[in-house]
């Protein structure tokens, strides 16, 4: 059984993050708890020649330092007692009993197991994914390894917006510069899970089809001008951006939609009447919608529509679309 010792803080190397798995930690709660009840659980340290390396308890050491304490209670391990992987596992175990890992922290831990401690992928899938409540599947491991490689801004966005694993995989297909150009734009839009997925898919597909980098698509002046329109609300801006990307991705469909809209506009439909093509112009049968509040309005609509039915351009619309 290890004894607990008081170790001077200045002998602890807080820059060594070999065993650290922390991203955007919420230190507020820990701070107030340490202030009121003090340190209940000692930190775990590994003794080195000249100083101590933190195995577990990074957050406690940070806050303790912030609170200007001189020393901290610690359980100290000799350098030879365990190998680094064992120390890391000890740290994971200790952390898992006291807190939950966020997505990025899970990614960091898996990346360390994979890269730093050279644990075999199959072993990680079988043993460690379930430890983090993840399904033991290669695809999941790859998703988290890709997340671990992403830039701080992207990781922050992913955590803040609770981005799904599917969308993380889409981010993972982009280059670093692409992601860094994209994140500030996304932050100005109003995107739920499926909108984000649509937008990322559109960008990736345009980029693959045209052999153009995503950052270059995003820097196009026509897109930039939508983004700089101050009068747009976030949902309006989101709609415009989405429409813009859709047109870029589907030029022939957009052309057809435009032509249809133009044709319909030439009929000068009164307010409350609208004509819609079949979905994706597939099959025949347009949809006509109208609104009325009084019998007079109803008669006016019917009258307008019956005149419209006699017009050659209207017949052409039915014929051609």
């Amino acid at each position: 059984m290890k004894t607990i010792q008081e170790i001077p803080l200045k002998q602890i190397d807080i820059t060594d993050e070999t065993f650290s798995v922390n991203f955007m930690p919420d230190l507020q709660r820990l701070r107030s708890s340490l202030q009121t009840v003090g340190l209940i659980q000692p930190v775990l340290l590994k003794r080195r020649e000249r100083d101590y390396q933190i195995v577990s308890g990074f957050r406690r050491v940070w806050v303790w330092q912030e609170l200007e304490r001189d020393s901290i209670s610690a359980m100290v391990f000799g350098g030879q007692e365990k190998n680094d992987l064992e120390f890391f596992l000890l740290s994971l175990e200790e952390n898992l009993t006291t807190r939950r890992f966020n997505m990025v922290e899970k990614a960091m831990a898996l990346q360390k197991l994979h890269r730093l401690f050279q644990v075999d992928s199959l072993e990680i899938i079988k043993t460690y994914l379930p430890l983090f409540s993840l399904e033991p599947h290669e695809k999941i491991l790859n998703t988290f390894l890709a997340l671990a490689e992403m830039e701080e801004e992207v990781k922050t966005y992913i955590l803040r917006e609770e981005v799904s694993r599917f969308n993380i995989r889409l981010f993972g297909k982009m280059g670093s510069e692409d992601r860094l150009t994209l994140i500030p734009i996304l932050s100005h839009l109003k995107l739920g899970e499926s909108r984000l997925r649509e937008m990322l898919t559109l960008l990736l597909e345009i980029s693959q089809r045209d052999g153009q980098r995503i950052k270059d698509i995003l820097r196009r002046s026509d897109l930039q001008s939508i983004l700089s329109q101050k009068e747009l609300t976030p949902p309006q801006r989101t709609e415009r951006v989405k429409k813009f990307l859709f047109c870029l991705r589907n030029p022939r469909m957009s052309e057809k939609e435009e032509a249809f809209k133009k044709k319909v506009a030439s009929f000068h439909l009164p307010e409350g009447i609208s004509i819609h093509p079949p979905p994706f112009f597939e099959g025949r049968g347009m949809k006509l919608a109208f609104q009325f509040r009084t019998t007079e309005e109803y008669r006016a609509v019917v009258d307008f529509l019956s005149k419209l039915g006699g017009k050659e351009e209207f017949k052409a619309l039915i014929q051609n679309f």
């Binding site: 089809r209 022939r252 469909m253 979905p279 597939e282 099959g283």
Partner: protein, 368 residues
């Protein structure tokens, strides 16, 4: 030498004594065999692998099939289909096309060969004895490639002579060159051998493990010499930059070797897929460009090229084909009546109407 690799044979204990099984085992003497009592467990285990589909293609499962193995082709709703019947001899396929619908369709990922062969012939026999259509068309190429497993078991040697005695047509659809077994058989024109064709670039990019275009055409030429009626399927037609020229070149190459008068039918079908396929295929083929076209959901829930694109592709192809020979019988696979009208100027009223055209074509072709 097999043109594909089988790493292991899983042998269902219940299929152990079937003569088909013995034949297959003799064809693959080097491949390790593992007996299987728990089929479900085997499949469940395979499905938990990183790439169950890829894994399944390298592992042969020999088992018995207890349900119906002859069914009408499911076709697709609100579209005109050709009224085909599907015979299930094998499920899955050793080749690996990025667009293959089997990837999202089969819940058993193994390349599976059914060993109760005699039951199958009996099932076909009783189906044909009550079927009053003059020339039903049946094919083995829906849940697999019709000829890919010929080196393991010569299906054709049993099916072709069997159909030679019937008033029905067997279609063997393939992307291989496995025609050796067919050449000496007495087929009486009741077996159509058909190839799926695409430009060489698409074959290289999207049809992994399949035969080269010129080899497919050469195999077709050998079947032509052996007197078989030939079919060709430009399906899926893929829209890419330069498609027009490259498909035209395929047609030219084809008819530089093949007599159009020996071609019983040609189908055209734009690339289409059920929604679940995209995720699976993109995962398995990260380089695929097949989903980069303008593709939208249709009335049957399948995703197809934008109507204008399909129309353009079909119109150009029909024109090219009719320039070769105006008598070629060209039809569209799983298309809407509107598209039929725009391409041909007319449309079959429904699937059974199209079926009548097939019957006439067959009668004319085999001289009855």
């Amino acid at each position: 030498m097999l043109p594909f690799q089988i790493e292991r044979i899983y042998l269902d204990f219940q299929a152990e004594n079937d003569w088909v099984t013995q034949h297959v085992l003799q064809s693959l003497p080097e491949v390790p065999v593992k007996g299987v009592g728990d089929k479900r467990g085997l499949i469940k285990n395979a499905l938990s692998m990183a790439d169950p589909i890829g894994e399944g293609k390298r592992n042969l499962f020999i088992t018995r099939f207890y349900g119906k193995r002859l069914k009408p082709c499911p076709g697709t709703s609100r579209h005109i289909c050709c009224g085909y019947f599907v015979i299930n001899t094998v499920t899955n396929c050793p080749m690996d096309c990025s667009y293959c619908v089997l990837q999202g369709y089969l819940n058993n990922p193994f390349l599976t060969l059914y060993s109760n062969w005699d039951d199958l012939l009996q099932e076909i026999e009783s189906f044909l004895s009550v079927d009053c259509r003059p020339f039903s068309r049946l094919g083995t190429g829906e849940l697999s490639d019709s000829l890919a497993l010929e080196p393991l078991f010569p299906f054709s040697q049993y099916l072709v002579p069997f159909f030679a005695q019937k008033n029905a047509i067997l279609e063997l659809k393939t992307k291989t060159t496995e025609v050796q077994n067919l050449l000496s058989l007495d087929h009486r024109g009741r077996t159509v051998v058909s190839w799926s064709l695409n430009p060489p670039r698409m074959i290289e990019e999207e049809e992994k493990g399949t035969a080269l275009l010129r080899d497919r055409i050469e195999a077709a030429r050998r079947c032509q010499e052996a007197g078989y009626p030939l079919g060709f399927h430009f399906d899926p037609m893929i829209y890419f930059e330069g498609w027009e020229k490259e498909y035209e070149e395929v047609v030219q190459l084809l008819f530089s070797r093949i007599d159009p008068k020996r071609v019983i039918w040609i189908s055209l079908g734009g690339f289409r897929y059920p929604p679940q396929l995209k995720g699976i295929a993109e995962e398995r083929f990260p380089q695929t460009r097949i989903f980069l076209g303008e593709l939208f959901p249709g009335k049957d829930g399948k995703i197809r090229y934008f109507k204008e694109i399909r129309k353009e592709m079909y119109q150009k192809m029909v024109k090219t084909l009719k320039e070769v020979n105006p008598d070629l019988f060209v039809y569209l696979c799983m298309e809407s009546p509107e598209i039929w009208k725009e391409v041909f100027g007319w449309s079959p009223q429904n699937s059974s109407h199209l079926n009548e055209f097939f019957e006439e074509r067959i009668k004319k072709f085999i001289g009855r």
